[in-house]
């Protein structure tokens, strides 16, 4: 039987089927994903309760979960030092959001510029590497002298601490673009602007998201330092101030709140990331 080159319909149908099969297989989720995180939380709280119930440490250094819940209710309703927990939380969230969004808005274009133009890289990189190891606490006096004791100095501090990682991730995102993808666009006639829009920018997105996830963590770690600048509201201020008064329960409330909010923000960025770069890790 002489079979010609044209008849390839069967093969196409076959490969189509196998691709669909793969998707079905991927949809089969593992059951333990639902309960492992909750189990870990329950075990941690159980251990905490057990240690305090056995009075292994004095309650002034490790309060029991019950007393922290009690302090939480007091801080949430009556407030700490006249400031309700919600107000402090919103102030902290506002400072972090402003500083972080500004860092992304400024840092991403700088990173792109550094990756594409050598003299810009040579000019900015030493400055960046010089600023990176400086701890947030060291900035405080400078921030007060330059920006006063209002909101600006706190936001600027968070901005300065988060921008290096954003710049670095945007820059390395551009540099990690696959050469063949650039070539594909070039040989289809892309100009520089199109090359950036369709190939370089989407290629850099996964690394920018990773940088943002690290950055938001850094922003929270800067919060206490930022709110040491003459603040009278905020979670960082609450922790610092309650610590000085040995109200260890309130410190724990603040720590748990920061942990939960940081985790929540991570989950938000993660879901945005999943929606914007669904191909990540698959191509």
């Amino acid at each position: 039987m002489g079979y010609s080159y044209m008849a390839s319909d069967e093969i196409e149908a076959e490969s189509a089927e196998s691709a669909l099969e793969q998707n079905v297989w991927k949809a089969d989720k593992k059951a333990y994903r639902g309960y492992v995180p909750w189990l870990v939380a329950a075990v941690m709280i159980g251990l905490w309760w057990g240690v305090t119930a056995l009075h292994l440490f004095p309650p002034t250094s490790l309060p029991s979960p019950g007393s922290v819940v009690h302090d939480f209710i007091v801080v949430a309703t009556v407030g700490y030092s006249g400031e309700p927990l919600l107000t402090s939380t919103l102030y902290s969230l506002g400072r972090i959001a402003t500083g972080f969004i500004a860092a992304v808005a400024v840092g991403v274009p700088i990173g792109f510029w550094m990756a594409s133009t050598e003299w810009v890289f040579l000019a900015i990189d030493p400055l960046l590497q010089f600023l990176r190891p400086i701890p947030p606490l060291a900035y405080i006096p400078v921030m007060i002298v330059w920006f006063g004791i209002g909101e600006t100095s706190k936001v600027v501090l968070i901005f300065f601490c988060t921008i290096p990682i954003i710049i670095i991730s945007a820059m390395s995102g551009v540099k990690s673009v696959q050469e063949t993808r650039v070539r594909v666009a070039q040989c289809l006639g892309a100009n520089k602007r199109q090359l950036f829009r369709y190939v370089i920018f989407p290629s850099a997105l996964p690394e920018i998201f990773t940088g943002m996830r690290v950055g938001i963590g850094i922003a929270w770690t800067c919060l206490v330092a930022a709110e040491m600048i003459a603040a009278s509201k905020g979670l960082g201020w609450m922790i610092e101030s309650a610590g000085n008064e040995l109200q260890i329960g309130v410190v724990f409330v603040g720590i748990v709140m920061i942990g939960l909010l940081g985790y929540g923000m991570e989950l938000i960025i993660r879901s945005v990331e999943h929606r914007v770069t669904p191909w990540k890790g698959k191509a």
């Binding site: 093969i11 070039q186 040989c187 006639g189 199109q194 669904p278 191909w279 698959k282």
Partner: protein, 260 residues
């Protein structure tokens, strides 16, 4: 028409004090309009470098390459390239990937949706327009990559071992498929491969290259007629061509000892 005139390529020395590496050594060839030419050679013989220079991705160290009478200096849409890896853009659907060349021409998401839809049907990718590349099999991805290269109707198709990463069965299907498309659209094809059978099945002319530095050992006209019939891979003529190419690639033992 593609014309290579005494083309050489040097790479800078890898170590201090070493000599520059000669990858391609005085290669001359002419490829007529509508012709299907394969370059076959062992890995590292500089065949991909030749294709990259024709595509405009790499510069020529010596000599010149003319496409349609014009000196090649950078990539251009009249020379579409299909790479060994499908290299689809993972953030675009199959539809947007295939229509990418049109989108770039029009400066916005392509309005020629019918043309893209027709190409998707031709390539047997119907029903997968909205899928992302990672949801397709390797063979389907490579078909989408070929569709993307063909959508702007380029005069020249440059293919760099496009089926090298596929399994034997899929590769045979893709070869048939490529020939069917070529019979219809008749682009000039420069096809790089290390698979001797593949080169004879596909080409009007097979250019055999020697190992580094890459030189043209011989050019063989393949007189197997068109359209090709799959049975011919068992024919005496086919085997004669295969033996001819293999003899050039792997010279008899005593000859290689003399050369060494």
């Amino acid at each position: 028409m593609i014309a290579l005139k005494e083309v050489s390529k040097f790479y800078p020395p890898t170590a201090r004090g070493a000599k520059p590496v000669l990858a391609v050594d005085h290669v001359s060839a002419e490829i007529e309009e509508g012709e299907f030419v394969c370059i076959v050679g062992p890995s590292g013989c500089g065949k991909t470098t030749v294709l990259n220079m024709v595509a405009g991705f790499e510069s020529v160290s010596q000599g010149e390459i003319l496409v349609g009478g014009k000196l090649v200096s950078k990539p251009g849409p009249e020379r579409a390239v299909v790479f060994q890896q499908p290299s689809l853009l993972p953030w675009m659907t199959v539809f947007d990937n295939i229509g990418f060349g049109l989108t770039l021409q029009e400066g916005r998401k392509t309005r020629q949706r019918d043309k893209v839809a027709q190409m998707i049907e031709t390539m047997g990718l119907g029903g997968f327009e909205g899928h992302f590349p990672y949801q397709l099999s390797g063979g389907m991805q490579q078909r989408a990559a070929i569709a993307r290269a063909l959508i702007t109707e380029p005069e020249i198709l440059l293919m760099d071992e496009p089926f090298g990463a596929l399994d034997a069965q899929t590769r045979a299907d893709m070869q048939k498929f490529l020939l069917a498309v070529w019979e219809r659209l008749r682009p000039t094809v420069l096809f790089i491969t290390h698979d001797v059978e593949e080169s004879i099945v596909l080409a009007d002319r097979v250019i055999v290259m020697t190992p580094r530095p890459g030189r043209i050992a011989e050019t063989i006209d393949i007189g197997l007629g068109r359209p090709r019939n799959w049975d011919m891979i068992l024919s005496p003529e086919f085997l004669r061509y295969k033996k001819e190419v293999l003899t050039i690639l792997r010279p008899p033992r005593d000859a290689s000892q003399n050369a060494g």
